[in-house]
Amino acid sequence: MKKRLLDIAHARSGDKGDTANIGLIAKHPKYYPLLVKRVTAARVARHFKGMINGPVERFELPNLRALNFLLHGALDGGGTISLKTDAQGKVFSTALLRMEIDVGGRR
């Protein structure tokens, strides 16, 4: 069965220079292992293909049942240089929540 991340997680994002960060937080502890397994750095890089021009790093925060992603080269130079509406990556988080992941079980 597939679920949209929006239904099992929430998120907030911000910036450091040309890098956007996305903190992805499981809505319930039972979803955290699923996020760890399915929402890999490689998967996130594929999800944002064409929107970022650098690598994706992932860090785990099991204590907060959260994953932190760094999306490098995401902000057209970032801060004041960027020509983007979302120059500070404030809503990158919501774009990640569009991702669908396999949550197991029958459909």
Binding site: N21, L64, G79
Partner: protein
Amino acid sequence: MRSANHPATVRVAGGQGFWGDWLEAPYRQVTGGPVEYLMMDYLAEVTMSILQKQKSRDASRGYATDFITQMERILPTVVERGIKVTANAGGVNPRACAMAVADVARKLGLGGKLKIGVVTGDDLLGRLDGLIARGHDLKNLDTGRPLHDVRDRVLSANAYLGAAPVVEALQRGAQVVITGRVTDTGLTLGPLMHAFGWAVDAWDRIAAGTVAGHIIECGAQASGGNCLSNWKTIPDLANVGYPIVEAHADGTFDLVKHPKTGGRIDVAGVTEQLVYEMGDPRAYITPDGVADFTTIQLDQTGKDRVRVSGIKGKPATDKLKVSIAYFYGYKAVGTLVYVWPDALEKAKAADRILRQRLQDLGLAFEAIHTEFVGANATHGPLALKGLDTTAIPEVQLRIGVRSPDKERVDRFTREIAPLILNGPPSVTGFAGGRPKPEEIVAYWPALIDKQMVKPMVEVVDA
């Protein structure tokens, strides 16, 4: 070690998350219930360059003027209740800011009742050539380039100071501590170190005070503002209560807000703020120490009350971060609104026509960036997957250019309006007129050896 002089609990209220935050918040924080400290963050990365420019025109300026208006409003309460204030409103001229606060205090009849601490030593602009000559090349942390490459365009350079000078000012009796580029977290950690007598190498406590500072430094973003988790059920944001750290000597703290205020403090919302602008969670580096965010435990211990505990820290590094601003070039962004039917197709056609004209004029840019607001501006191609784009009622074409050459950017701004009459149909929304070329002041993050920066503290009577 706790002595009889140290309180069991200390409350630090967050009053401003940035210069431009809600003007009502500081007053509500000092009057809405008991607090011992009010912290206010005013400095974003590029703010210092704006302030440096103001100071170069008028030596009595260069600080966050809103802070003076705020102090005029809250000083009577602050003095009456013995509340202490920490703020990095001093910008590039903390002394002038302190003088302005002293003037306000005297005007309010509070002369002689107030000591003001002034923290300086962060401003490296006048020392840059000396530092570079002595081998401190202030490499850009993102690109690795030495500062030498843009030296003649540097507008401001400030080392991030930590909590130590804030603690010193408080120990010397300052009730209002005005700083230059002190870290946002240092404005909360400083009061806690002072109140509880925490040692500078009590790394777990330093980390705990840093995490507390990180949570409240963005104002209401920790108490229901900009919170995605169950956002529709967050009560009464019109009356939102800004966050308050209720700290204990052992480094644990509760996050709360004043009674009878709106917003919400829950584990989900605090978690959102913890991950905001996060890098490697195991190493949140400040001048004061290194906090490990993977050790933080959150528990909902009451309505609008989250307990934060378990925080571990590591020793401080021997570097300080330096925030440098330099002149980069020019940019301009133009917009037009295209309307159904075929709103997106029309906007796309206009973009193609505009780009063709720029090319025909021989105008090359460092970057041209097009967004179709209402369709793909923030979610890119992800937004249009499976969407019937012919149903979109309106799309804003938003096109921007960037160049070191101001004239090119200016010429671009003259190519927007003609499209209204000589481009695709059903276009409107040009009431704002021709866009203006804007100067780009860019950010250059670097590191410097800690020993090269000496924070200075003065305490003056109002």
